[in-house]
């Protein structure tokens, strides 16, 4: 083994708490990274994964200081250098690729100018040389027509292209190591899969080392040679990705893997009870002891050491013991043969045709959502999946009455129309439809206590006030398994998972018939997500509410849905029982989406079909998926609306390809295969 490029030894970083106590965020982390190697750092929020990655660049977030240990990069002791020397190394030898490239690029400068800026800073090339180098860099990150790309502004690029441009800027200084902090979080699965393939190839071609920080084990499995699992500021397990994911030794790693929903398995994954120790708290026992199913007396006697097990290192006293069986809880939905909600040919458009357009008889813009029809039975969960911009949230907003459909009808079971906006619905109709929002942080008013938040619907729908409302709020908190003392807390004092529980409790305060779940778990850690999913399932059983569950995560939708509708650019491509939608034959778009899903399985790889491209307005005629479809038939796709093919009971695929020719191939291939399409 050659000398490591990055070597972190016994590194402890933290802040000084009130009273002068040293509160550690990182607790004695040791890690090595060789040139050309990729390490994935994984953990929940607050586990210290970003802190350890930034420390490799010699960077500390403000307020933090190094208590102990060192970080050596390419022979430089990063924390012993002066700020000026560190700044010189950053960017030229080690570069950071930010989480959100769209925000990290300057909107008023062309891509070429931004790369040129980095070149001026890190190299002494002349103007002409820099221009050639800019094009080379854009070629290297596989952006199509690099000369032309250099003259574009960031907003003219798709999300995936922006991320590539950010990589090109990072590469301008000939970095030996790239630091990637959740670079694909928030991107669509298809874009994410493309970016990851690109990064893998980049690392191989250029021999750069990569530090990849992510909460997503599926992503790590795809890009990293080695994986480091962080928990409560400690390294709890580390080793080759294949070894760690196939045979996890630490109970936390096992729990993490078990809490990830899989495409192939219906049912709610098992969740880990409890919460990690508070950031900066004193550790006197195994940090995971309180949440561990296999905890013993010895675990509470002291902090366990990282034990070398040959293939990997694990911080558990009982690493070699067989794991307890992890189970997924199968949902047992109680679907009644009674309609809860139906959408009939709904079209939604955000822009109204102006007066001038009407006078000049200009063609109206294609609506955001068109011909959306589906039904929802009582007690049933319908999943809506699709990429961003597929109109899945727009449909929810129309059902909630926040936007009005331009055509079609939305009706509740008793024939009550939901086509009218919120302002024209009566209170009883409003009560029947409730929404749970994606981001509990934003959907709970930061200036209201939990009691006030839960009282609002109670007062509005049931006229409950004062003590009566408070008592009811208490039972609602109990239903979502939160203690009564939370009533007088503010949302800021709750963890992410707890906030989402309050959001769920607020929706159920109305005792709704239809609950609209808009990406409710996408902001949560996987272990918390599993708990939130089982909470929703339990509440559905208790209240008999029907769910419409919107998510970009196909595995999550698979876990909770009875039926699934796949949307592309506001048009339904396929709808049917989940077992059928998630099995061949597939609609070409369904296959594209599912193929791009990353699973924490180091032996298989996703299948990349459609190109990653800039989103355009939906086509005026023909199949919505015509531009990206890997199985395009020809002109018929552009001109004629695809027929609705009945494949089974309630299973409809909108495609020109005849049923028997629809794809039945496997979704995943062996890891070794080269997947990256050229260009």
């Amino acid at each position: 083994m050659t000398d490591p490029l990055i070597k972190i030894e016994d590194l402890s970083i933290g802040f000084t708490a009130k009273g002068g106590r040293q509160a550690p965020i990182l607790r004695g982390v040791s890690l090595e990274l060789c040139a050309g190697e990729t390490i994935g750092i994984v953990g929940e929020s607050g586990s210290g994964k970003s802190t350890v990655a930034l420390a490799m660049m010699g960077y500390l977030k403000s307020g933090l200081s190094v208590f102990r240990g060192s970080a050596v990069f390419d022979g430089h002791n990063m924390f012993a250098l002066s700020e000026k020397e560190r700044a010189r190394l950053r960017g030229s030898s080690i570069a950071l690729i930010p989480q959100n490239a769209g925000q990290a690029l300057t909107p008023t400068l062309k891509i070429g100018q931004q790369i040129d800026e980095a070149l001026q800073l890190h190299t002494d090339l002349g103007r002409a040389d820099r221009e050639t180098r800019t094009v080379e860099l854009l070629e290297k990150v596989r952006l199509p027509s690099p000369e032309e790309m250099a003259t574009r502004y960031p907003h003219e690029l798709s999300g995936g292209q922006q991320q590539r441009a950010a990589v090109a800027i990072a590469l301008a200084g000939n970095a030996k190591a790239l630091l990637l902090d959740e670079p694909t979080t928030g991107l669509d699965v298809t874009t994410q899969a493309h970016i990851l393939e690109f990064l893998r190839h980049l690392a191989q071609d250029l021999g750069v080392a990569m530090v990849y920080v992510s909460h997503d084990l599926g992503v790590i499995a795809r890009v990293a040679d080695r994986v480091a699992v962080m928990y409560a500021g400690q390294l709890v397990e580390e080793g080759l990705t294949r070894d760690v994911l196939n045979v996890p030794h630490h109970p936390y790693t096992r729990g993490l893997l078990a809490s990830i929903p899989r495409l192939g398995e219906p049912g709610i994954p098992s969740s880990m009870p409890g919460v990690p120790p508070a950031v900066g708290s004193e550790l006197t026992a195994c940090a995971f002891a309180d949440r561990c199913a296999q905890v013993r007396e010895a675990c509470r006697k002291g902090v366990p050491d990282l034990v070398d097990l040959g293939t990997s290192r694990s911080r558990c006293l009982f690493s070699n013991e067989p794991a307890a069986a992890q189970t997924t809880a199968l949902r047992e939905p109680e679907i009644r043969n009674d309609m809860a909600l139906s959408l009939d040919n709904v079209a939604i458009s955000y822009s109204q045709p102006g007066l001038l357009d009407r006078l000049l008889n200009r063609p109206t813009k294609t609506p955001t959502v068109d011909r959306a029809s589906f039904t929802l039975q009582k007690g049933e969960t319908l999943g809506l999946v699709g990429e961003s911009g597929s109109g899945k949230s727009t449909i929810l907003r129309a059902i909630a009455g926040l936007v009005s459909p331009r055509a079609g009808s939305i009706t509740l079971n008793d024939g009550e129309s939901l086509t009218a906006p919120v302002s024209r619905r009566d209170r009883e109709t409003l009560r029947k439809v409730q929404m749970i929002f994606q981001n509990a942080d934003a959907s709970l008013n930061p200036r209201q206590t939990i009691a006030e938040i839960l009282s609002a619907p109670l007062q509005l729908y049931f006229g409950l006030k004062g003590q009566a409302a408070r008592d009811k709020a208490k039972t609602l908190l109990e239903a979502v398994r939160l203690p009564e003392r939370y009533l007088d807390r503010f949302p800021g004092q709750l963890s992410g998972g707890e906030k989402q529980r309050v959001g769920v409790a607020r929706a159920f305060a109305a005792n709704p018939e239809v609950t609209l779940c808009d990406e409710v778990t996408s902001a949560l850690d996987v272990s918390v997500q599993a708990a939130a999913l089982s909470l929703l399932t339990r509440l559905q059983k208790e209240n008999g509410s029907s769910y419409i569950f919107v998510s970009h995560d196909l595995a999550v939708v698979r876990a909770v849905s009875d039926r699934v509708a796949v949307l592309y650019q506001g048009r339904i491509c396929e709808v049917g029982p989940s077992a059928q939608v998630y099995a061949p034959p597939y609609h070409p778009y369904t296959k594209t989406l599912m193929g791009a899903v990353l699973e924490p399985d180091p032996d298989t790889a996703p299948v990349l079909l459609a190109d990653d491209m800039t989103e355009q307005a939906p086509p005026a005629s023909g199949c919505p998926f015509q531009r990206r479809c890997p199985r395009r038939l020809g002109d018929i796709c552009d001109s004629t609306l695809p027929p609705a093919r009945q494949l089974g009971l309630g299973h409809v695929i909108h495609c020109h390809i005849p049923e028997e020719e629809l794809d039945g191939d496997a979704l995943r291939v062996a890891q070794s295969q080269d997947l990256l399409p050229t260009g």
Binding site: L402, M435, A442, S443, L444, N445, P446
Partner: protein, 280 residues
Amino acid sequence: MLNLLQTTVSKPSGAIGLGLTVLHVLIALLAPVIAPYDPTMQNADAILLAPNAEHWMGTDSLGRDVFSRVVHGGRLAISVTFAAAVIATLWGGFAGIFFGAVGGRVDEYSMRIVDAFLSMPWLLFLLLIISIGGAGPATIIPTLGFFYGVAILRVVRGAAMQVATRDYVTAARARGENIWPIISREMFPNLSDILLVEGAMRWSWMLLAFSSLSFLGFGATPPTPDWGLMVAQQRSLISTAPWAVFWPCFALSTLIIGINLLADAIGKALGLDRATAIAV
């Protein structure tokens, strides 16, 4: 609240701002006790005396004690402008949140009217109103309150538009809440910070405006001791008796600087950036 105060004074600029503002308000309240002479008493034997042991800031052209006049000089200005600032914050804040919450055409059309008001040379307009309605506080307070309220409206409306797009407001709308609970329960608590800072800032601007009015002869009327008026009356003697002009200017500037620093520090303590909060 106590916490906010602690954070505000933790920086020197906040402490200085709070100190200056409180000092000026105290002086104005206790003026009759502090002032050694009657501020309107003329003394023909002590005309234009330079600062000395008896008259710390000298005397003016009518032999009045400048120190006593400076001490009294803020009373009218501070009380009139404070009342106007409260009115401006209340109506501007309310209307701003309302238009931000309602949005759409109502907001669009109202903002054009606001634009029209903002583009008026307000000082001339003020003079016109005062020349019709008379120069008493009964005219000046509502007029200042209205004009500065328009500016506050504009700023608060901008902030309210942002709050109106937050999910908790969307949640309330989806729930079917009326506009009033949305404004009072969901939006106002998240905008009160901006209102506080805006109100304080406008107060300092109004002080300057009121003093300008007095200087022009439309604010305080002689013989009332007032900083603006004092400067106006003594300005021809600035080369021979600079103290009669300097001290009222000094008092006015320190108060305005104090309020500005204080508003800035409160804004920072609340996590607001004035550069982004103030759009007008």
